[in-house]
């Protein structure tokens, strides 16, 4: 296993490049989860774009912990977790989790664990901007 690739990025996320970077010859399964900005909010308002802000010191530490936990729970795997910050348009990738493992079951499990825990625990905040000019900070359902 190599060290997890953990990053907060102002630049666009290239999921394919990330997967190529993470996988090794030992990996028979590569799972990529991409969270993408969509045009409707959970309460069905039309979204113009999102802005994310983060507290990098704590966010990066928590993302590292999540990657370590995923490896401890689901076995040896390569992990990348990258989250955007700043202003994002509809269709842009806000977060990518790539897990490469010898077999698919642990790769799926580790990937799901990592994105669920990120949404609940990592110091990142999201503001939805609507087409009518209104905006609101949106908390995750299981946010702590």
């Amino acid at each position: 296993m190599t060290a997890p690739l953990i990053k907060l990025s102002r630049e666009r996320i290239d999921c394919a490049a990330l997967a190529e970077k993470v996988r090794t010859a030992a990996c028979g399964a590569v799972i990529t989860f991409a969270g993408v900005v969509r045009e409707l909010s959970d309460d069905e308002r039309t979204v113009n774009g999102l802005s994310y802000e983060t507290y990098p010191a704590m966010a990066l530490e928590e993302m590292h912990k999540i990657a370590d936990e995923a490896q401890a729970k689901f076995g040896p795997c390569e992990i990348a977790i990258v989250h955007r910050f700043g202003d994002l348009a509809i269709g842009e990738t806000s977060v990518a989790v790539v897990v490469a493992a010898p077999h698919r079951a642990p790769a799926f499990d580790a990937c799901e664990y990592a994105i669920d825990e990120l949404k609940a625990r990592v110091e990142i905040w999201k503001k939805e901007h609507y087409v009518d000019g209104d905006a609101t900070w949106r908390e995750n359902a299981k946010a702590r």
Binding site: G35, Y52, E53, T54, Y55, A57, M58, A59, E61, H83, S94, V95, I115, L118, K119, A120, R121, V122, E123, I124, W125, K126, K127, W137, R138, E139, N140, A143, R144
Partner: protein, 79 residues
């Protein structure tokens, strides 16, 4: 003593700043800091806001020290 306050999202907007140095009496606690910078609008968010001292979430009764960075963390929304 002086601590550095950093605030995010809704809390940052209510405070009107993202970071600021705040002067406090020696041996002030996290809760003392909240009362010093607080406003009625901000108090509504007290229960849902976690407070971290130098990168670790801490209790309201925790004592602060000169040079600490205190972060005000509303519920997260990443992903």
């Amino acid at each position: 003593m002086q601590v550095r306050v950093v605030a995010f999202a809704r809390v940052r907007e209510l405070l009107g700043y993202g970071e600021r140095e705040v002067e406090l009496p020696a041996s002030a606690t996290v809760e003392d800091l909240w009362r010093t910078i607080g406003t009625p609008e901000l108090d509504v968010l007290r229960e849902s806001t976690r407070i971290a001292r130098n990168g670790t979430v801490t209790e309201p009764t925790a004592q602060l020290a000169d040079g600490d960075e205190v972060a005000l963390l509303p519920p997260v929304g990443g992903g």
